[in-house]
Amino acid sequence: MSTVPVLETRGLGRSFGGLRAVSDVSFSVPEGQVLGVIGPNGSGKSTFINLVTGHIKPTQGRVLIDGRDLTAARPWVIAHARVARTFQIVKPFRGMSVRENVAVGILYGPQGTNVMAHALKAADEVLEEVGIAGLGDRPPGELSVADARRLELAKALALRPRLLLLDEVMAGLRHTEIEPSLELIRSLKARGITVIVVEHVMKAILAVSDRVLVLHQGQVLTSGDPREVLADPRVIEAYLGHRYAKRRETDS
């Protein structure tokens, strides 16, 4: 295992006009770790993922992947550096089958192939990994919410990433549907893939994260051990408001 972190950001920030969506975010993720990123709505979680993956260009700071400076690199350059992501609102390629959706990532991913048959076969393997092996021939529009999320995940895994950024892959899922996703994240970790999980579902964050980073108003509020962070009064205040935090303090 290398000592260079898979992902490091230095003072990363983005302003939209006068609004600072994200500012001065510095942290690093060592290889093989699962990092949970939490924060209330509008705290900059999705913007942060977009900054790392090149979908939004930062106005300040740097992004280093494996020690390589890939600040403001185009998204496909990031993908070729074996960094994959999912989108909060799933983005399937309609008009292609589920299998073809995944095959596109294999054709154009870091290991790219020109042989369609190989790509389709490898796509079936990825579909099996995420648990929708039987749905390869279906159009993505016919998938359930949970299966559409799995397809989104499969498209990211098609790149055979070293670093995977998951943008709320569990939002809106039922308890029974969340467990397989957690299991999958654990298995990815076991294979040495570094995972950044942006999530609102606290139970999920606690279950899989080695470390948690809390964003609040675009800045890092705190980071560290998941249980300690979630017990931090500042985090509770950011999520539930000043009055709730105070009442909780007096109650205990």
Partner: protein, 345 residues
């Protein structure tokens, strides 16, 4: 070796043969169609040959537009600019530089492709209506540029390609020759469409069409792919424009940069089924044939009737005939009213 192990092997190879045959089928139908068109030529009067050649011309124009507008989802409303550039390049190359038509033809395609690359780099950053309007502007602007360079282009008075006498670098091809040449261009463009549809490149274009962010996120260099598609589309359109110019002998900016040519390409692709290979082919043949039939039988009302048919077709089949049939076969829902409901805004 026992028979019991051989039987399943035969089953597998049998299925493979059938699979291969199914994949080869469209190509074989294509070859037969070209041979059929060549056979048809001997049965046609010269005037009819010209009419059928125009159908071939629109088949290739519709296929070319489909590469950028259909597969890639960038509705180019200035496609005629490549047609005009191809035509004017050939006219200038033959009359000013004394190049042969065949050399000029090829160079016209290349020049149109280079122009597509040049305008594609900035314009393909725009999406939807913005791209449509910007390309429309380029085509309208180019017509004015060509009109205002009389020394080179003949200006509004037009330019005449020498087809007889000592200045003629290539003998005029005549109706028979242009029939074959336009047929070859149609075959080429359908072939390109078929190859793109089945290729890795085609998957990238369709991914870009559906969601550009998602396409970039899985490693597709979206800028390069869009520009390539635009250049390829421009190349074919340039070849067709060059051939059209030579056929017309004398060309004018108003005709070679006529926005109606773009509109026809768009309508043919949309009615046939955009993003498919068969769609633009069927759309171009049907519409051009229908237009000619109406012109000959309802001289006064022909535009009116054609317009009405197009409106009804677009309302009932907004996704195009080919896409409608494919969906209906998959879902078993053939009702046109249900189709309207599905696609209404």
């Amino acid at each position: 070796m026992t028979t019991s192990t051989q039987v399943p092997q035969q089953g597998v190879t049998g299925a493979m043969h059938r699979d291969q045959a199914m994949r080869l089928l469209p190509w074989m139908v294509g070859v037969l169609a070209v041979l059929g068109a060549l056979a048809l030529q001997s049965q046609l009067f010269l005037g009819q040959q010209r009419t059928v050649a125009a159908i071939f011309m629109f088949v290739s124009l519709a296929q070319a537009w489909n590469l950028i507008g259909g597969f890639t989802g960038y509705a180019c409303f200035g496609q005629v600019v490549f047609f005009g550039i191809g035509g004017y390049f050939t006219a200038i190359a033959i009359s000013h530089w004394h190049l042969s038509f065949w050399v000029s033809l090829l160079l016209s395609g290349v020049v149109a492709a280079l122009f597509a690359t040049l305008i594609g780099l900035p314009l393909l950053r725009l999406k939807g209506h913005y791209f449509a309007i910007a390309t429309l502007g380029v085509a309208e602007g180019m017509r004015e540029v060509v009109t205002n360079l009389p020394d080179l282009t003949g200006g509004g008075a037009g330019i005449t390609i020498p087809t007889v006498g000592p200045d003629a670098t290539t003998a005029y091809l005549g109706n028979e020759g242009f029939y074959v040449l336009f047929l070859a261009l149609a075959a080429l463009s359908v072939l390109v469409g078929g190859l793109v549809a089945r290729s890795k490149f085609g998957y990238a274009l369709r991914a870009i069409h559906q969601d550009e962010d998602a396409a970039a996120a899985v490693g597709i260099n979206t800028t390069r792919m869009k520009v390539l598609a635009f250049a390829l589309s421009g190349f074919i359109t340039g070849l067709v424009g060059a051939t059209y110019a030579f056929q017309q002998v004398t060309i004018f900016p108003q005709r070679l940069f006529d926005v109606n040519i773009t509109v026809l390409m768009v309508i043919m692709v949309v009615i046939g089924g955009s993003g498919t290979v068969l769609g633009p082919l069927l759309g171009a043949v049907t519409l051009q044939f229908l237009s000619e039939f109406l012109r000959q039988n309802f001289t006064d009302l022909h535009i009116f009737i054609l317009g009405a048919i197009i409106i009804v077709a677009v309302i009932l089949l907004p996704q195009g005939a080919v896409n409608y049939v494919r969906e209906a076969r998959r879902t078993g829902e053939f009702s046109l009213l249900a189709n309207v409901r599905k696609y209404r805004l």
